[in-house]
Symmetry: C2
Subunit: 291 residues, 2 copies
């Protein structure tokens, strides 16, 4: 088994790689390059690339070779946030305590920066130093989970639900696509890049499914019980926008219980991996996070 | 050498493949699926996929195996038009005589439809039945030419030039990226998918470079000398928007002469291909088109 890394070590590697992945052009194009770099550097927890790298490691993969794929999935996540924040979508002025991309650079540049990051994700991924027969399925998973049947499908469903009552089942179906699919992609691509066995890929899917939903419920809980300082954005925005949320549909206590249950399910799915302590701790940390 | 096809035969194949490539989901996601299908079906001349398939054929490739790549490049072209038409970009209400995507489906759905087509392009391309060692370079070219150093870079430069005088050199540099890169990708990917020799790839690049610029100059000319009926959009829109164009910078006669010169250069580049009559005719047809 390859060397273990801490979350901090992974994050440092990912941030360094992302910083190198979008070089300036030195000409007028850099209006968009700077916007891409701004949003990419305004980093969150790097949940998806960390999961990708760790699943890759526990399946016997090499972190350096998988790093381009980790960058690619973070680029796709970042592009989706830029486009989600645009006035015609959620119209959010802030992202992680800083002006959102279109507030900083204007709408047209933010639109193109999102397009640029989505496109660059596939450029970076297609050049990962991995066996072509391992790499091509990773690219297909990346495109399928991020696409109109996956993440974009979830965003589309979300649009239909504006100012409309949604039950827990439909909310879950939406979140499974909108946030769940890319988390699933991260875990699955980590395995596929290492040429993992089918059983391992299935276990990664099960883990991802559970932490993906738990992640979303915690997001909803923090919008009620968190603080603006910790979150880097105003709290109460879901209620203000009349958004259906798990706490609103299930209550605070039941939502918290569900997070614990899902986290336990995620941990149970890891039994086929010899080294699973990082992934166990990661699931627990996501469940108990305050931002 | 594989069977020759006519432009009409290629177009029929491409349209049929595109129609199958975006199946409905049968649920709320189809708000975006329908928008994607609408824009993809509102077909233009299919210049890029036809070029891809014919370069593939003259390099010894099989048309069926290359068809997913042809679809992918048309999807990228279509997404770029959807996003270009948005209010924050060119704010165009019509595209090829029909309401543009956001006029028909609303801004948010059009944004997501563009994102969906860009993402689907890579999904479809990654599954092309080609040897992985031929396919991966095709994917890299697709992402690089469409990205922030390529097509998106050109769109970004275009944004900087709004209401600003631009000389012929800068206009050419912009168009080389904005429209030239994807035409170049089409020709180059056609060759790479067939495992073509370097000399053939270089010849395809030279051909693409010349017809790409000629194509843009003809576009500018038609905006002055064409008719709204033939073009499916109002004429005179460049002048109205104070856009720098080749005819404005070089004059009508010099622009027309340049189109002929570039077309001859493109034809000259084809000497290394045994069967080049289709590509010669294609370059001439693009130069003499009326829409």
């Amino acid at each position: 088994m390859n060397n273990a890394f801490t979350n901090e070590e992974y994050t440092v590697m990912i941030n360094a790689a992302l910083n190198q992945a979008v070089p300036l052009c030195g000409d007028e194009r850099d209006a968009v390059t700077k916007a891409m770099r701004y949003s990419l550097a305004n980093g969150g927890k790097r949940v998806r690339p960390v999961l990708l790298l760790e699943f890759n490691r526990v399946c016997g993969g090499n972190v350096t070779n998988a790093l381009p794929l980790a960058c690619a999935i973070e680029m796709i996540h970042t592009y989706s946030l830029i486009h989600d924040d645009l006035p015609c979508m959620d119209d959010d002025d802030f992202r992680r305590g800083k002006p959102s991309c279109h507030k900083q650079f204007g709408e047209a540049t933010a639109l193109l920066a999102g397009d640029g990051l989505l496109t660059l994700a596939f450029s970076v991924a297609a050049k990962a130093p991995l066996p072509p027969e391992n790499l091509l399925p990773c690219l297909a998973v990346l495109a399928d989970t991020a696409g109109y049947r996956g993440m974009i499908g979830g965003q589309t469903m979300d649009l239909q639900h504006e100012d409309k009552a949604v039950d827990a089942e439909l909310l879950r179906a939406t979140d499974r696509l909108k946030t769940g699919q890319l988390i699933c992609a991260a875990c699955r691509i980590g395995c596929l890049a290492a040429g993992a066995a089918e059983e391992q890929v299935a276990a990664a899917d099960a883990y991802a499914e559970s932490i993906g939903l738990a992640f979303q419920i915690v997001d909803d809980l923090l919008d009620i019980t968190g603080t603006a300082e910790e979150l880097g954005k105003p709290i109460g925005s879901d209620a203000e926008k009349n958004k259906s949320t798990y706490p609103a549909l299930l209550g605070l206590d039941e939502s918290r219980r569900l997070v614990q249950e899902l986290t336990q399910q995620a941990i149970n799915a890891l039994s086929c991996f010899d080294e699973n302590s990082f992934l166990i701790g990661f699931a627990e940390k996501l469940a108990n996070r305050t931002n």
